[in-house]
Symmetry: C2
Subunit: 610 residues, 2 copies
């Protein structure tokens, strides 16, 4: 061992004993010709080394630079100038001998919390970026979450069972990464997008409670903050209903809060149907750390059929923008009634950005004196403005913002506007954590391009038991694309649930189909004929013939969960060796070309479009 | 929840309370028209269900078959015929109502320890094979080993840090699996053969103690009991010497023994140099549960230069087989002096099999009456036979077996013969565990085909400190292929170590090179020019410029470790979804063809040789 103690270990009680430390030179401070201080850093902390007398001569002969690897032996000494910010701040090591274990070139950026290195440089020199305390804390948090999840699941009798990485390509939705097989020329493995079918097979096999913290792969065009390889906490249970899963896994997340953040999350996790979430927040993963629910003034007839909009509040005023819009939504922003023209103009520009895509923004100022002022004063009397503001839940001093347009876009815009305003008002507090279960998702989504149904979650999710008949007894074919919402399949709700944390989906799952007939119907509904079903999922359909138990599960986005717990927007900060937005590892310079010999052995060649 | 208790849970103290169970029908026994017993099985155990009265009628209407999934409610009753072999054997459930949750076709083989299913059938229906108790116990053991390793390493301040799976192809020795990149046409990722360079980078980054239980990939022609994807317990430490690693990881394996097998392995793990292992056992992973060391009668001049053979014992007898052989080895087999002619003939045939490849076998019977009898009596006097037998450590009643031939083949054959005889004599006891460290491996191996050096362990393993000069100051080029053993590189020993358990290598590692200059010399010795070095390992060489600490590590073959602890020869039995010897998953039928669209998107095409 190169050391007797770590750089975070020595204390006053070690005074006058000898110690040997090894670590990296953080700083060298020359106090005088006969006194140098060196801060030595390792994973565990920083200890001050003090060079005087003989050791000075050695130091002058062997000058130290930043990030040199140093081994130093000496006596532990009480410091005269104690540093209360450092756990080792009461002591220093009076160096009697030392050895430079390795030199360092001058790093391309400083190894500090506030580094001077840009993103690209830090990605290229990731091994140096990883030395920074900010990054180290992220990876430590990640390990703590990993450990807490495992301990909880172990205690609940879950078994970690490894599933294969070289599987079969069955692209559904996202693209698979594929792996040519040298031993089976012309054939390919695929990397798993998730262990979904394997964990279901394990339930068929009777393993009862399975988990894995496992890498998954999706060859998607990378949106910001997506990675081609990512990690899931993947879980499955047999003989359970939705309620059992919700309880089990809110327990897990609460355990993680407690272990990792010291937070006692004792209240029951709120629950909300998908329809309510969309209706009230315009979003299936609402941030409920704050209110500001949407007021649905107007909606198309066919969507959210059991929800009542309030068109009377805006109709008959001859305001064409509202009259002609499919959907009109309002949101009350607390305490913003005194926004200036400049501010409301800026908000209007904000909603008109291409990412939001609205044509404009209507506002109502609910002045503290009880009067109402609006950008559409000439259409609506103060009385009508008050009625709208009241319905939106606005109090005196609030600002009501109204958006109008096509249903989907407007709802999304209202959701974004709500989040933006909350951000500006400081209502999205990093250290406040609010969980939410979103339930009763639609089973199917409509795919306009193919005029067909696609599985909203995945093809293994079961419909609500009361709607199995609807699914079995109706032909999935959509005769009239324009009226797809009238197809019975549009109303089928899934036994599916998402866990949402602070407006981010951190987990999602479902109770699965476990009957062969229903699974076949589902595949057929998605446009798979018998042959394709058997080619892709014959093993699963086969397994359902031999006593498949009722089962369900959930998968958590581990990278995302860690990022949110760490108060960050970016999952990259919580991955040791992430890829950039082009899917490249710029440190390794991967992907890269391969040798001719590899092509030859794999019996493939390039077919570049140019 | 579909159940109040598991099938392994109910006891006499639950008597007269109601319970609901869910599980699989193991057996249905019709005792009489008014009494049926059904054994219901789940992961946790088996409980006897008793159907009488009303429930009989229901049962007749809904007949149960093997592997049906059943939910049953009833009262817990004390059994009149208790079954002491079953934890639930004191009770039964008097069924009042039940529900068939799913039916099952008749399984293609019986779900029992002694199943009637052949290998191929069980691989195809792996989801049913996994139901068998024998397989379940293996996966439970695997999870227990996983858990014990993690707990030990956590307690020793190791951090689980995930490394990437989509990396760069740098084939060295084994072939990489590659993954075409759609977003970077013409370029490929590779799947890692191990996280070797990443864990070294993590040491450079200061993480100090890293571990991961991680999948690795090698596209090799599969020898028996190899898998294209396999799992390692992968570990690395900074600021350590070999001794620190040996102590840390024999601690881990002992902890696993204790936690998983209840074995207190308190003695220090034995250590042996690679030369001693080869000399005494003909093998670099000797099984030391028993003695039977080899006697080296004759060896080529250039190998094991510090080991003394005893050619005088056999020379001058005009026995050409020995005189002309490069190597002659003997091994004493305890208690076998009374082998019949038939038995010695059979042994002779055994060593002549192509897998062993010897031309014949010489034996000396050390009779209990003090006489010696040999197949080469006409060349050697009884006195000389006694001298050989004594040197081989044979006692009266033992049988000495002698092999002669080319060095490498003969040593291997002697090793195999020793193991075979020990197996026959019952000396390789499944429940006896004997660990061994093998140390001081050669740094290089000679590659005849290329007349060049290859790294015996891998290119990151450091030479013994005393031999760094030998490495730096000599030209690696081998001028005279016939005399490669005289090249200074042939004598360089590595800072490398293997952990051996009962004759199996379960782990291997080394102290790494951490100086750029030495690493470059190593790459050059392996025939890599500067350009290739930078293309493949530029990131690592770069990292060594910025303060790389001394470090080293080890990786355990997790599948193998589990198999040995489970008393099995085959790692497949300890993998939930293994591949067959052609690298196929016969359950999934993978690998398989992919769609034209996938080829088009990946911009590759097939180039089949016929």
């Amino acid at each position: 061992m190169y050391r007797t103690h770590t750089c975070g270990e020595l204390r006053l009680e070690n005074k006058n004993s000898e110690a040997t430390l090894a670590g990296w030179v953080q700083t060298v401070r020359k106090i005088s010709a006969s006194l140098y201080f060196v801060d030595l850093r390792d994973r565990y902390g920083i200890t001050q080394l003090c060079f005087t007398g003989d050791s000075i001569r050695l130091l002058d002969e062997n000058p130290l630079g930043r990030e040199f690897v140093l081994q130093a032996t000496g006596m532990v000494n009480e410091r005269s100038n104690k540093n209360a910010n450092l756990p080792t701040g009461d002591i220093e090591l009076l160096v009697t001998s030392f050895k430079i274990l390795n030199k360092s070139a001058v790093p391309p950026f400083t190894i500090q919390d506030d580094t001077d290195g840009g993103d690209d440089l830090r990605m290229k020199y990731r091994f140096l970026d990883l030395r920074r305390n900010a990054v180290k804390k992220n990876l430590e948090l990640r390990y703590a979450v990993n450990r807490a999840a495992r301990n909880y699941l172990h205690q609940k009798q879950f078994m970690d069972i490894e599933t294969p990485f070289l599987i079969k390509s069955t692209p559904e939705g996202a693209r698979d990464f594929v792996v040519p097989s040298r031993m089976n020329p012309g054939q390919f493995y695929a990397l798993p997008q998730s262990p979904q079918t394997f964990k279901q097979l394990l339930m068929v096999s009777g393993y009862d409670r399975y988990y894995q913290i496992v890498k998954c792969f999706r060859d998607e065009d990378l949106r910001a903050d997506r990675q081609p390889e990512f990690t899931q906490i993947d879980c499955e249970m047999a003989f359970v209903e939705q309620e059992d899963i919700l309880n089990m896994f809110e327990g897990m997340v609460k355990h993680i809060f407690k272990e990792v953040k010291g937070i006692d999350y004792t209240e029951k996790v709120e629950r909300m149907t998908w329809e309510d979430a969309m209706w009230q927040f315009g979003n299936d993963k609402p941030d409920i750390r704050f209110g500001m629910k949407l007021l649905n003034l107007k909606k198309p007839a066919t969507v959210y059929s059991d929800k009542q909009d309030q068109p009377a509040l805006i109709s008959g005023a001859d305001f064409k923008v509202f009259d002609e819009a499919e959907t009109v939504l309002a949101v009350a922003i607390p305490g913003c009634s005194e926004y200036t023209r400049k501010q409301t103009d800026e908000l209007t520009e904000w909603v008109k950005r291409p990412q939001i895509g609205m044509k404009g923004l209507v506002f109502i100022k609910c002045n503290t004196d009880g009067t109402y002022k609006s950008s559409v004063d000439k259409f609506y009397s103060e009385e009508r403005l008050k009625a709208i503001a009241d319905a939106a839940g606005a109090a005196p001093g609030d600002l009501v913002l109204l958006l109008a347009g096509a249903e989907e876009r407007t709802r999304k815009a209202a959701s974004e506007l709500r989040l933006e305003m909350a951000e500006r008002l400081g209502l999205r507090k990093k250290e406040e954590f609010k969980l939410l279960w979103v339930l009763d998702f639609p089973l199917f989504e409509y795919d306009e391009e193919g005029n067909r149904w696609v599985a909203r979650h995945h093809p293994f999710t079961s419909p609500k038991p009361s709607q199995i008949e609807t699914m079995i007894n109706n032909n999935p074919v959509i005769e009239n694309a324009a009226e797809y919402l009238k197809h019975p399949y549009a109303t089928i709700k899934a036994n599916a649930y998402d866990m949402v944390l602070n407006g981010n989906e951190i987990g999602g799952g479902s109770i699965r189909i476990f009957q062969r007939e229903l699974q076949e119907k589902m595949f057929a509904a998605l446009g798979m004929d018998k042959e394709e079903q058997l080619h892709k999922f014959g093993f699963l359909l086969g397994a359902f013939e031999y006593g498949a138990p009722p089962h369900g599960g959930i998968a958590f986005g581990f990278d995302r969960l860690c990022a949110i717990l760490g108060g960050s927007e970016s999952i990259r900060d919580f991955i040791a060796f992430p890829k950039n937005n082009a899917g490249r590892d710029v440190m390794l310079d991967a992907p890269a070309t391969i040798d001719d010999k590899q092509f030859e052995e794999l019996q493939i060649k390039l077919d570049l479009k140019n």
